[in-house]
C-alpha cells in the first residue's frame, strides 16, 4: 500500500527491469491516467459553463435587463461582457481569465464573481463536510452493527424495521426533511435556530437534514456488504483462528466491505455537495446555494457560471479521491483495470 512512496524498490522484480521503470510502475501510471481523466472532465466542464450563456435562446443580456431596457444600455452591457466578440475569442478570453482567477463580474452587483464565491464557499463547504462526517460516523457502525445483529437470518423483525425505515427516510428529499426538522425542533419545540449561520447550534438542523437520508442509505449498503463478507471463507478462517468477534468483524470482515462502501460514499458526498443548494434555501444558509438560486432568478449569468464551475469541480475532485482510495483498498482490481 505504501508503494507510491518508493516506486522502484517495491515493484515485484518479476520482469527484467526496463530502463523507463518508473513509467511502468502501476501506481504511477494509474495516477497518471486518473489525472488525465480529471483534466479532460474539467475541460468539458469549463467549456460547458462557458457555452451555457450562449446556449440560452435569445439575447441573455436583453433577458437579464428586461424587455423595456433601452437598446443602448443592452448594447453597452453586451460590449462590456465581451459578447460581441467572435465566439472563439470569447472562449480564449474566458480561459485566460480563469487561469488568473478571474471568473467575470456579476451582472447585478458588479462584484467580481470570484469574490462572491470566496465569501460564500466556506459556509457551503462547512455544511457539506460536517454532513459527510456525520454520515460516515453514523452509517458505518450502524450498518456493521445491523449486519452482525441480523447475520444468518437472525432477528427478522429488526431487519425488516431497519430496512423499511431506512428505505423510507432515504427516499425523502433533504429539503423536505429540512422542513420537517424546522417544524419539530424550531416551531414546536423551539430548541434550535432554524435560519442563518451562527454558532454551532445553527449547524445542527441543516446538517441533520442533509445527512439523515444518506446516512441511512449508506448504513443499508454497509449492512448488505458486511453480510456478504461475513459469509465468505476467510471470515470462517478468522473464526477458526479463534479470534475475538470484535477482531473478526473489524479487522477481517469490514475492510473487505470497504470497496462498495467507498464507491457509494463518493456518490453520496457529491450528491450532498449539490444537495446543499436546497438545504441552504430551507435554512437561509448564506452559502453558494442561496447565491446560485438568486442569480438564476436574476439572470446573473456570470455568477451562475462561476458557481456551477465550483460545484462541478468539487464533484470531480471527490470522484478522483474516491478512485484513488479504492485503488489503495483494493490494488488488484482497480489499478490494472484503469
Amino acid at each position: 500500500m505504501t508503494t507510491t512512496s518508493a516506486p522502484a524498490g517495491t515493484a515485484p522484480p518479476v520482469r527484467s527491469v526496463p530502463p523507463d521503470r518508473w513509467v511502468r510502475n502501476p501506481w504511477l501510471s494509474f495516477l497518471g491516467r486518473r489525472l488525465v481523466r480529471l483534466l479532460v472532465s474539467l475541460a468539458v466542464l469549463v467549456t460547458l459553463a462557458f457555452l451555457m450563456i450562449h446556449l440560452i435562446p435569445g439575447d441573455p443580456v436583453r433577458a437579464a435587463l428586461g424587455l423595456n431596457a433601452p437598446a443602448d444600455l443592452v448594447e453597452a452591457r453586451r460590449e462590456s461582457l465581451g459578447l460581441n466578440d467572435p465566439i472563439a475569442v470569447q472562449y480564449v478570453n474566458y480561459l485566460r481569465g480563469m487561469f488568473s482567477g478571474d471568473l467575470g463580474v456579476s451582472m447585478t452587483s458588479g462584484v467580481p464573481v470570484a469574490d462572491t464565491i470566496g465569501a460564500r464557499l466556506p459556509a457551503t463547504a462547512g455544511l457539506a463536510v460536517s454532513a459527510f462526517v456525520v454520515v460516515m460516523s453514523v452509517s458505518i457502525p450502524l450498518g456493521l452493527f445491523m449486519a452482525v445483529l441480523t447475520r444468518g437470518g437472525r432477528r427478522r423483525g429488526a431487519e425488516l424495521g431497519f430496512t423499511s425505515t431506512s428505505a423510507v427516510v432515504s427516499a425523502i428529499p433533504e429539503f423536505m426533511l429540512g422542513v420537517g426538522l424546522v417544524f419539530v425542533f424550531g416551531v414546536t419545540l423551539g430548541w434550535l435556530p432554524v435560519a442563518g449561520r451562527g454558532g454551532a447550534s445553527s449547524y445542527i438542523l441543516p446538517v441533520l437534514a442533509l445527512s439523515m437520508g444518506p446516512a441511512l442509505l449508506m448504513a443499508r449498503i454497509v449492512r448488505v456488504e458486511a453480510l456478504s463478507v461475513l459469509g465468505q471463507d476467510f471470515v470462517r478462517t478468522a473464526r477458526a483462528k479463534r479470534l475475538p468477534p470484535r477482531r473478526v468483524y473489524l479487522r477481517h470482515a469490514f475492510p473487505n466491505a470497504l470497496t462498495s462502501t467507498l464507491t457509494i460514499g463518493g456518490l453520496l458526498l457529491s450528491g450532498m455537495i449539490v444537495g446543499t443548494v436546497l438545504v441552504e434555501n430551507v435554512f437561509a444558509w448564506p452559502g453558494m446555494g442561496m447565491t446560485i438560486v438568486q442569480s438564476i432568478l436574476a439572470k446573473d449569468y456570470p455568477l451562475v457560471q462561476g458557481i456551477v464551475l465550483v460545484y462541478g469541480s468539487a464533484v470531480l475532485l471527490v470522484n478522483l479521491v474516491v478512485d484513488v482510495m479504492l485503488a489503495v483498498v483494493d490494488p488488484r482490481s482497480t489499478i490494472r483495470e484503469g
Partner: protein, 637 residues
C-alpha cells in the same frame, strides 16, 4: 409473463399499497381541479394568512386562499409535470443508450464517454445547469429535469442492452443479417424491457421530488400557477404562523414520490430473482447444545482422546421442518493418529468437521451427547470459552486456499495474528514466528513472502501457508477439510507430503476430510466412511481390501478414475446421494445398493465386521475385492 409479473407485484403488500395510493392520486389529478379549481383560486381579503379553522382545514395563504384545496388541486400539475419530465428523460435516455449499439465504433465510444461523464455529476447540478439554459418556469424545469435524468437512464439502457446482446438469439439475428437498428428495436430493447420499466417507475418518483425542489427554489412553476413545491416554498415563510401550510404539500410530495419508488421496487422484486428466504430456526444452536448435554453420557469416557464426539447432529430449519445433513455421527481421534473421513459431496463430512470445531454456520443447530476436545467438554460452553480452549489446540485447513485468506491483509500478519491473540506476543515476535513457520512449510524467501498479499501467492503456496498458520501454536489436532481438492495433482502431492511431515514433526493428530478415498488411504491410518449424514463404515487402512459396506466398495471402485468430478454421482454407483430432506427410511444407501432387500428398510447400526472394523450394513460383504479396484489404494508411500 409480463402481465403476470405486474399482477403479482400488485399483490405484495408494498406493491398493493403503493399502487392504490397512485390510483387515488390519479383520480385526484383528474377530478380535483374540476371540482375545486375555482374555489382554490378564490382570494379572501377577510381571511389572510389564517391558521387552521373549521372553514379552512389547513388555514389560508397570504391572499386568503384555502390551502387544503390548493394542495388537492395541485395534484394534477405536480404529477403531470413530473410525468412529462420522466418521459423526456426516458426518451432521451433510450436514444442515448441505444446509440452506441447502432453507431460505429468511434461514435459509440463518444456517446458512452459523454454519458459516463454526465452520470458523474449529481442530477440536481445538471438540472440547475439546464434550468439556466431553458429558463425559469414550468417548461424550463420540465426540460431541465428531463435532460438531467437522461444520462443515468441512458447508462441503464446501455448495460441492459449489452447484457441481452450476448444471448444466442441476438447472435442468430445478427448472423441472419438483421440490420443494426432493427436488431436494437426488435431484439434488444424488448428483452431488456423489464428493468427499464422498473427504473422508469422509480424515476417518476425522483422526478416528482426534483420538480418539487425546483419549484420550492422558485425556479420551477411560477405564479399564478402552483404545484406542491411552490406551495411548500410559500408555506415555509409562514411556518411559525401556520405549519400546515408547508407540511401538507410536503407530505403530499413525499407520499407521491414514495408511491412511485415503492411500486418500482415491488415490481423489481417480482421480476428479479426471487430469493427464498430461510426462516429462523426455532431453536438456537446454543440452546440445543446446552440441553442435549443434559442427556446421559452413555458411552464410557475416552479421556485421553484428542477428539471424542458422540451422536453429533447438525440441523437446518427448512421450508417444511428440520433437515439433518449430519445425523448422529460418533467418532474418536487418538493423539498423533491420522483419521480420514471420506464420502461423496452431501455426505455431511465437511459439516461434521466444522461442527466439531464449533464453526458450523450461524443458522445451523448443532447437538451432541458428547463433544470433547483434549479431554475437555465443549458442550455447555460459551463462545469466549470455546475460543480459549480451541485457540491453540485445534488448527483448521480449508478447502479453497484462494478464498480462505483475507485478501486485504498481508499473509504474515494473518499468521502472526494467531500468536498475538492467543499468546499476547508483540507484533514483532509474532511476525518472526510467522516467518519461521512459513519457512517450515517450504515457502521460499519467507521474509519477503510474509509481507505479500494472498493474491501474490500461488494456490499451492497459499495452502502451505494455511498449514503454516495452523502451526503458529502447537495444535493437538489439525482438521483439514478437503485440503487438496482445489489444487492440481502435483501440488496436491506436495501439500499431502507437507501435512504428513508436519504430523510427524509435531505429533499432532490429523482429521482429514476428503471425497477421494485414494488421498485418504495414502495419508491415514484409519478411515471413516460417511453416507447421507451417517457413518457407514469405520476401518483401518490395511483392511480396505476387506471393506464390508457396499458403499465403501463402490468408493474404492471409483478410485482409478482420477478425474472424477466430486460434484457428479460416482460413475460406478448409479444414482446420487439423497438430499437430507428426502432420505429413505432405513439404510439411506438402499436405492443405489445392489444387495438391498426388505431388511434394509430398517436402519442398520454400526457393528463389528472384522478386527477394529465396524460397518452399518445388514449384508456386509466378505468376498475379496478385485485387484483392479485396489490400484493406488492402501499403500502408504
Amino acid at each position: 409473463m409480463r402481465l403476470e409479473h405486474w399482477r403479482s407485484a400488485l399483490k405484495s403488500p408494498v406493491g398493493a399499497a403503493s399502487a392504490s395510493l397512485l390510483a387515488v392520486l390519479a383520480v385526484l389529478a383528474v377530478v380535483a381541479p374540476m371540482i375545486w379549481g375555482d374555489a382554490a383560486n378564490e382570494t379572501n381579503p377577510a381571511a389572510l394568512s389564517q391558521g387552521r379553522s373549521a372553514e379552512h382545514l389547513l388555514g389560508t395563504d397570504a391572499l386568503g386562499r384555502d390551502i387544503a384545496l390548493r394542495v388537492l388541486v395541485a395534484t394534477r400539475y405536480s404529477l403531470g409535470l413530473a410525468l412529462l419530465a420522466t418521459s423526456i428523460a426516458v426518451l432521451v435516455g433510450l436514444v442515448l443508450g441505444v446509440l452506441p449499439a447502432v453507431l460505429g465504433r468511434r461514435g459509440s465510444r463518444f456517446v458512452t464517454a459523454a454519458v459516463n461523464l454526465a452520470v458523474a455529476f449529481p442530477a440536481l447540478l445538471l438540472a440547475l445547469f439546464f434550468a439556466v439554459i431553458f429558463g425559469v418556469g414550468a417548461q424550463g424545469a420540465v426540460l431541465a429535469i428531463g435532460f438531467a435524468g437522461a444520462p443515468s437512464f441512458a447508462r441503464l439502457v446501455q448495460t441492459n442492452v449489452a447484457a441481452v446482446a450476448g444471448r444466442d438469439y441476438v447472435a442468430a439475428a445478427r448472423v441472419a443479417g438483421v440490420g443494426r437498428t432493427r436488431l436494437v428495436l426488435r431484439h434488444l430493447l424488448p428483452n431488456a424491457g423489464e428493468p427499464l420499466v422498473v427504473n422508469a417507475t422509480v424515476m417518476a418518483g425522483t422526478a416528482l421530488l426534483a420538480f418539487a425542489g425546483l419549484s420550492f427554489l422558485g425556479i420551477g412553476v411560477q405564479p399564478p400557477a402552483y404545484d406542491w413545491g411552490r406551495l411548500l416554498g410559500e408555506g415555509l415563510d409562514r411556518i411559525y404562523i401556520n405549519p400546515a401550510a408547508s407540511l401538507a404539500p410536503g407530505v403530499a410530495v413525499v407520499l407521491a414520490g414514495l408511491a412511485f419508488t415503492l411500486l418500482g421496487e415491488a415490481i423489481a422484486q417480482v421480476v428479479g430473482i426471487r430469493t427464498a428466504r430461510r426462516r429462523m430456526p426455532e431453536v438456537r444452536p446454543e440452546a440445543q447444545v446446552a440441553s442435549s448435554s443434559a442427556a446421559a453420557v452413555r458411552d464410557t469416557p475416552a479421556t485421553d482422546a484428542v477428539l471424542d464426539v458422540r451422536d453429533l447432529r447438525v440441523g437446518f430449519a427448512g421450508r417444511d421442518g428440520w433437515t439433518y445433513p449430519v445425523d448422529g455421527v460418533s467418532l474418536t481421534v487418538w493423539p498423533g493418529e491420522t483419521v480420514g473421513i471420506v464420502g461423496e459431496s452431501g455426505s455431511g463430512k465437511s459439516l461434521t468437521a466444522l461442527a466439531v470445531a464449533r464453526l458450523a454456520p450461524d443458522d445451523a443447530a448443532v447437538s451432541a451427547t458428547r463433544l470433547d476436545v483434549n479431554g475437555t467438554s465443549l458442550l455447555d460452553r460459551g463462545d469466549a470459552e470455546v475460543r480459549k480452549l480451541l485457540g491453540t489446540s485445534v488448527a483448521m485447513v480449508f478447502q479453497d486456499p484462494m478464498t480462505s485468506f483475507n485478501p486485504s491483509m498481508r499473509v504474515g500478519a494473518q499468521l502472526a495474528e494467531v500468536t498475538r491473540t492467543h499468546e499476547g506476543r508483540s507484533r514483532r515476535d509474532a511476525l518472526s514466528r510467522a516467518v519461521d513457520r512459513l519457512r517450515k512449510v517450504h515457502i521460499p524467501s519467507p521474509q519477503r513472502r510474509a509481507r505479500q498479499y494472498p493474491h501474490e501467492y500461488s494456490g499451492g503456496m497459499r495452502q502451505r501457508a494455511m498449514i503454516g498458520m495452523g502451526l503458529m501454536s502447537e495444535p493437538a489436532l489439525i482438521i483439514a477439510d478437503e485440503p487438496t481438492t482445489a489444487l492440481d495433482v502435483t501440488v496436491q502431492r506436495q501439500v499431502l507430503r507437507l501435512l504428513r511431515d508436519v504430523q510427524r514433526d509435531t505429533g499432532a493428530a490429523v482429521l482429514l476430510i476428503s471425497h477421494d478415498i485414494a488421498v485418504v488411504s495414502q495419508m491415514c491410518e484409519r478411515i471413516i466412511v460417511m453416507y447421507a449424514g451417517r457413518v457407514v463404515e469405520e476401518l483401518p487402512v490395511d483392511r480396505l481390501a476387506e471393506a464390508a459396506h457396499p458403499y465403501t466398495r463402490a468408493l474404492l471402485g471409483s478410485v482409478p478414475d482420477m478425474t472424477t468430478d466430486r460434484e457428479k454421482p460416482l460413475v460406478t454407483i448409479p444414482g446420487r446421494p439423497p438430499e437430507p430432506a428426502d432420505r429413505p427410511p432405513g439404510c439411506a444407501f438402499a436405492p443405489r445398493c445392489g444387495f438391498a432387500d426388505e431388511l434394509c428398510g430398517t436402519t442398520p447400526e454400526l457393528e463389528d465386521a472384522g478386527p477394529r472394523q465396524r460397518a452399518a450394513c445388514w449384508h456386509p460383504r466378505t468376498e475379496a475385492i478385485p485387484p483392479v479396484a485396489q490400484a493406488g489404494v492402501g499403500e502408504r508411500s
